[in-house]
Structure formats: C-alpha cells, structure tokens
C-alpha cells in the first residue's frame, strides 16, 4: 500500500499524491531502536567501572554474534539484511549485560546465537517474536551452563575478588541481608549491567521521557512489587522487603529494558498494567518460594507467553459505545 503517486501539475512541476495524513511524527523503527542502544550505554559504563575492561569484551562478543546471526539468517533466507535497524544490537547488549562478570566468551557467543536464532528469527524477525530474544539467550545459558552462569565475583576493586554470593543468593541461601545503599550504587555482586541502579535509572529514565518505553510497564511492576512483595513481607518479616526487591538483582534492569520491549509486551494500556503486575507477582513468588534466588528472567518470559491473551482481553472500550 504505497500511497504515493506522482502527477503533473499544470505548471509542469510534479506533485505528490497520497491520502491523508500528510504529516508524520518522524519517529522510525530505527530511531526507536538506536534510542534504546543509547539508553543502555550507562549500564555498559557501569559494567566496565565495577567489573573491569574484560567485561567490554563480553558485551562486544554478545553484540557481534547477535548482529552476525541475524545477518546470516537473513542472508540464508534471501531477505533484506536489516541489522542496521539496531534491534540485534539491543539483543546483544542486553545479553552481554545480564551475564555474570568474567563470563566465558564462548558461552556468551552461544547465548547470542541462540537468542537471536531461536528467540527471534524463527518467528519471522523483528516484530513477530513472542519472547524477549535476550532472555531466551539467557535462559538457554542457564540451562546449558548452570554453574558458570551463577558464579559471581565482587566488583574488581573490592577486597574479596573471588567468587561471592549476590545479595539475593546471600539472602536466600545464607539468610544474609544486604543494605540497600550499595545496591543503588552498584558495588555488589551480580550481573554486569544490573548491579548499578543509578545507571539503569539514567538509561531507563531517558526511555520513559522520550516515550520509547511505555511508563505503564515499569510503573505496574513497581506497584506489583510493593503489593505482592509487601504482602508477603507483612505476613513473614523474614521475607525480603519490597524496597530490597526493588533494588536487588535485575528487577530495575528488567523493568526498564526487558519488560518494556515493545514487541513482546502488550499493545493496550490496560494490558500493560496486567502484564507488569503479572511479572511482579511471578517474580516475588520465584524469589520467595522458588528454588532460584532470582526470578526476573523467568517472570518476564512467563508473562511474554500471555501477551496475545492479555491483548485480547484488554481491548479498550470504544469511545461512545455503551459498556456491555
């Protein structure tokens, strides 16, 4: 439905014809994607600051293999090579930021290949995938290399540079609670890009202000954490507090960059609330009752699966139509 045709005006110049509207917001898919890339840079910087330059290599490998996989598959399928839209770069960056420090480069590459190939391209590429490709890659690594992916080291300048527990694992398995302020700055054990709440909020804030990420999803997730996490905490003071939930692990990173992935989240406003609340419910359940210390990844993947259903049941009521 290319609506532009060209006709001859009476003065000999050519006039364009198309149906209205004749103006466009100038937003493009490319711009949306590169804005997300830009928003992830603070997290890349915090990863390097807290865990050293090797991490830049991990992130670079993740990006190169994500982009390469997408280009290769598009080449095999004789489709236009569309890697410049930036979406594969995002997948690579996201995956590179959610693996533990000093993670194997080979494993990283495998995660990227799997995430893009199985998480995105088999569905038809950008716009058609059901699950967040970076999380699909991460889930694959979790299943294939369960030990490597849960081996954490403290930030490089910390005294104890050998493997250590993340705040969530410390709480779950040893009953040791971590104070909230180091969680905000980021000098705690954890995945590369997730440990600094400041960096995440900087990038996430940029996405919210520009409207690239819909505010409803992180808002719903925060509300959900206070609702569900708070309820459990009130019932059992040994359970983590909602504020701890909020700043520990990958909650903020997931809320800002993973759950807000346009393609794999609902399209309706109401649906976004349902989706965000659902993620938080699953997250709290996994963290408190599950066998794993962290549940953001599975909570988001789980809710990804419900998106078509959520869209169907949260259609907005048409303006002026009597409520049934």
């Amino acid at each position: 439905m290319s609506s532009v045709t060209v006709t001859e005006a009476s003065n000999g110049s050519e006039l364009l014809l198309s149906t209205s509207p004749h103006l466009h917001s100038r937003w493009t898919t490319k711009q949306v994607m590169w804005f997300v890339v830009l928003a992830l840079l603070p997290c890349v910087i915090s990863a390097v600051v807290f865990f050293g330059f090797y991490q830049l290599l991990v992130i670079a490998v993740a990006v190169i293999f994500a982009v390469g996989t997408e280009a290769f598959i598009q080449y095999l399928l004789k489709k236009p090579i569309a890697v410049m839209d930036g979406s594969a770069v995002i997948t690579g960056l996201l995956l590179g930021l959610i693996v533990p420090p000093h993670f194997s480069l080979t494993f990283t590459a495998l995660g990227s290949v799997f995430g893009v190939a199985i998480g995105k391209m088999v569905f038809g590429g950008l716009g058609y995938n059901i699950f967040n490709p970076a999380l699909v890659g991460r889930a694959f690594l979790q299943a294939a290399f369960p030990v490597a992916i849960t081996t954490w080291t403290m930030p490089s300048y910390a005294v104890d540079t050998v493997s250590s527990a993340t705040p969530l694992a410390a709480l779950k398995f040893d009953g040791v609670a971590t104070a909230v302020s180091p969680l905000i700055i980021g000098n705690v054990g954890g995945s590369l890009g997730e440990t600094s709440a400041l960096a995440v909020l900087l990038g996430g804030g940029f996405l919210l202000v520009t409207g690239v990420a819909n505010w409803r999803i992180p808002a719903a997730m925060v509300v959900g954490v206070f609702l569900f996490g708070g309820a459990l905490w009130l019932l059992d003071p040994a359970a983590p507090s909602p504020v701890f939930h909020l700043f520990a692990g990958s909650f903020l990173f997931g809320a800002m960059f993973m759950a807000t992935d346009m393609v794999t989240s609902p399209v309706t406003g109401k649906g976004m609330w349902v989706y965000g609340l659902g993620i938080s419910l699953m997250l709290v359940v996994i963290r408190v009752y599950g066998g794993l210390p962290e549940g953001v990844m599975y909570a988001i993947l789980f809710m990804n699966a419900f998106v078509p259903l959520i869209n169907r049941y949260t259609q907005p009521g048409i303006f002026g139509e009597a409520k049934a």
């Binding site: 609506s3 209205s20 466009h24 303006f319």
Partner: protein, 449 residues
C-alpha cells in the same frame, strides 16, 4: 497550567507562525470562476441558469435540491460559459457552472449585484434566521460542509442546552479561525447569539486551543459583558476540533457511537460559520466568498485570504507568489485530513479552509517496517480503537472481525498513522477496510429488504 482536553490525540508541529500574523486580504475577482454544484454534504444543487445566461453577483445560479442541500450563488457578475464536469478538490470531477466576467456589448448594462435585505439582529425571528441562513447557502466551515440551516432546525423533542463554537483550529498550519477571532470578535459573538436564538439555547461556549493567545484575549474581551457566553481554553492537541473530542473536553459528555452531538444536548458550529451567519443576517450577504489560509513552506508568501468562490487553486497560489522550487504536495484543507491535489484547476469552494503547500522535506517518507507492537496508535486513538489490529484485519480483508472491533467508528483523523514509528499507513488501511465494511453492510441491508 493544565487545560481541558480529551484522552489520546497527537501534537504535530503547529506551524501556525507562517501565517498567523497575516491579516485577511481580499483577493480581487479572478479571470473565471468554476462553481461546483456540490460544495456541501448532501444532494448537489440544481442549476437554474443555462449556457450564455448573464448572471449578477449574488444571484442564485443553482437551487437546493431537497432538505439536506444548499443553493449556490454567482460570486461575480458575468456570463455562463459552460455547465458540466470540472475538476473538484475532492479529487473527482463534478458538475459545475463556469462563469466568465461580464463584458458589456454596446448599449448593454451590467446587471446590479443581488443582495438580501439586512435584518436587525435584535429583533429577527427564529424563522427569519433559519430561512436567511438557508437562502444565503451557508455551509459548515469546519470541514464537512454540512448545510448550516439543517443544524439550526433540530428535530422535535431534542433538548439542546449548549451551543459550542469551535475555535480549536487543531489542524496544523491553518490560521483562518484564529484571524477571524482576532479581527471580528464582536461579529462572532453576534453570530453565536443568532445561532443560540435559532436553537432556543441560553448557553454558549467558545472553545479555543491555548496556542492562540491573541484570539483568546480578543474573544475574552468580546464576551466580557455577555450573559451566558464563556470561553473555554483547551489544550493544543490534534484532533481537539473533532466534534466528539470538543464536547468531551468542554463538558465531559460522550456522544454515543453513530449519534450526533444533539444526543447530548449540544450543537457545534465553526467560528467561520458564525461569521458567515452574521454576514448573512446582519449584512444580507450570501455565501460567495471563502475565507482560507494559504500557507506552507512550499508557497512564497503565506496569506489569509477572502477569495471569491470558484477561483482556481492555481490563481490563488499565483496570488501568493506561486510555488517554491521544492514544493511537493498541494493539500486542500489541513495537512492531517486534507486532500492532496492533482489538478490545480480545481476551484475554491465555500468551505475550503486552506491550501497547504508542503515541501519535499515535509513529505519525505520513511521506510515502512513490521509493526513493533508498541501500542502508540492505540494510545493516541481518540476513539479508543486498536488501529494496528484493524489495519491488519483490513489488509487481510477480514471484514467481519474488523466490523466487530469497530472499524466503522473511525473518523479517519490520522493520529495513528502520524504517530506510528514503523511508518505503517494505518489510517489508510482503516479507511479502505471501513469502506469495504460499509459496502458489505449496504449489500446485507439490500438483500434483507
């Protein structure tokens, strides 16, 4: 400060600064006028004159045919050159009367212009207002060109409480209503009073978007001593001027699907219509001129003009210095809902509100990609539809599902297509699907009958 508005909508660049400071100018009579018989919604007018007939300025040349129709008058004194198919800014060719200026032969006098007797606005009767508006051939200036007297003759049993004058002018670029409010505030209020009188209503509201501070100040002054008339300042947002959105913003009421504003006790008239009503009743003028904004970066000298109906687009464009080298698209109406022109011989009509000439830069198209499922189109749809879903259904020709999801409710404002980052022609697909669904409904009805 937060101004009243409706949920949804978009905010395109306003671009009003190109022409908002240009006072109305009266364009001289053109070399020829083409007067379409269909310048309004409803049945086209029936010609009353034949080829070679001499007609006077203001003379009725075609009469209203049926209730929803309007007469057309000759804007110049001249000779009927032809009656037949001519270019029309809708993009189709339509029947029109072509008149060339009168050239007196020896001993012949030009006929005197026809005018209607002025009426006293203080004492004029309801009947006289209605018949004058009908006789003068006034049509709605907001875009749809609905015959105005029909709206002043509501069906029995409908209680009308409020008349809203639409001064939103939410289409980017256009500044016609803005100039009216700056230059003729008292006439607008007098016109509003006539509308209120005709409808037996005691409450009038003038809705103006907040990006027209001069208009707001000017109208505030004009209504300062007026009982029952107030100004409602609205957030600048497209499509604030759509009837349903305006009512929602002004008094919070929701017009049911498929119903008129009458249903919630409201009649809306455009600012330009109010001045036309004033001119017809108080000055005895008939609808032979159009007030419009000629603007855009593709025209040399943007202007606000009063132009004789029937003047060709090319003559108006020439009067404004002509097209620039990078002019790419000539739109009649606003850029969000107007019609791109392929033939600049098409004439100006009574309800033509503007000519917007866009440059190559303005209309540059971005690459279309797959839907990103971002939901922006759903967020901005003022009627709370799901454009992405409906466009897809239209593309797949799944008309029953599209109908169930309300495709016929779409008013084609284009907010969805404007906002879509994937550059999918959403409203265009919806428009196509809507037409097909309505066709299906019609054939269903005729086969049931």
């Amino acid at each position: 400060m937060k101004f009243k508005t409706f949920p949804g909508g978009v905010h395109p660049p306003e671009e009003k600064e190109l022409s908002e400071h240009c006072a109305f100018e009266r364009m001289p009579a053109p070399s020829m006028v083409i007067i379409p018989l269909s310048q309004h919604l409803g049945k086209e007018a029936k010609p009353l004159v034949a080829k070679r007939a001499v007609v006077a300025e203001g003379q009725v040349v075609a009469e209203a045919d049926g209730f929803i129709s309007a007469p057309v008058h000759s804007p110049i004194t001249g000779t009927v050159k032809s009656i037949g198919r001519e270019s029309h800014s809708s993009g189709y060719s339509k029947d029109a009367i072509t008149i060339v200026p009168f050239e007196p032969k020896e001993g012949e006098d030009a006929p005197a212009p026809v005018t209607l007797p002025p009426l006293d606005p203080a004492t004029v009767s309801v009947e006289d207002i209605r018949s004058r508006v009908k006789e003068a051939g006034i049509v709605g200036q907001g875009g749809a060109a609905f015959p105005t007297f029909v709206k002043l003759t509501p069906p029995e049993g409908k209680a009308i409480e409020t008349v809203i004058l639409n001064g939103c002018e939410c289409e980017p670029y256009l500044t016609r209503d803005d100039r009216f409010m700056i230059e003729r505030p008292d006439d607008i209020v007098a016109g509003l009073r006539l509308i209120m009188r005709a409808l037996g209503v005691h409450k009038g509201v003038i809705g103006i978007e907040q990006n027209k501070p001069q208009s707001i100040a000017s109208m505030e002054r004009a209504v300062a001593s007026e009982e029952g008339i107030s100004i409602c300042t609205l957030q600048t947002k497209y499509p604030q001027g759509a009837e349903k959105m305006l009512i929602k913003a002004v008094n919070g009421r929701v017009v049911p699907v498929g119903k008129l504003p009458l249903e919630v006790g409201v009649v809306i008239q455009n600012i330009g219509t109010a001045t036309a009503i004033y001119d017809a009743v108080v000055k005895g003028e008939v609808s032979i001129t159009a007030a419009l904004t000629v603007t855009g970066r593709g025209i040399h000298t943007p202007k606000n003009l009063i132009v004789p109906v029937g003047t060709s687009l090319s003559e108006v464009i020439a009067y404004c210095g002509g097209l620039t080298d990078n002019a790419a698209k000539v739109v009649v109406g606003g850029p969000m809902m107007g019609v791109a022109q392929h033939d600049l011989n098409a004439p100006i009509m009574k309800a033509t509100s503007g000519i917007v000439v866009l440059t190559r830069e303005d209309v540059r198209r971005q690459e279309e990609t797959a839907c990103l499922r971002c939901g922006k189109c759903i967020d901005v749809c003022p009627l709370h539809l799901m454009p992405t879903r409906l466009a897809r259904l239209s593309e797949l020709n799944m008309l029953d599902e599209a109908e169930r999801l309300g495709i016929t409710v779409c008013m084609e404002c284009g907010s969805c297509a404007f906002t879509c980052p994937a550059n999918i022609p959403l409203v265009q697909w919806l428009r196509l699907g809507k037409q097909r669904v309505m066709q299906q409904q019609r054939s269903r009805k005729s086969s049931a009958a």
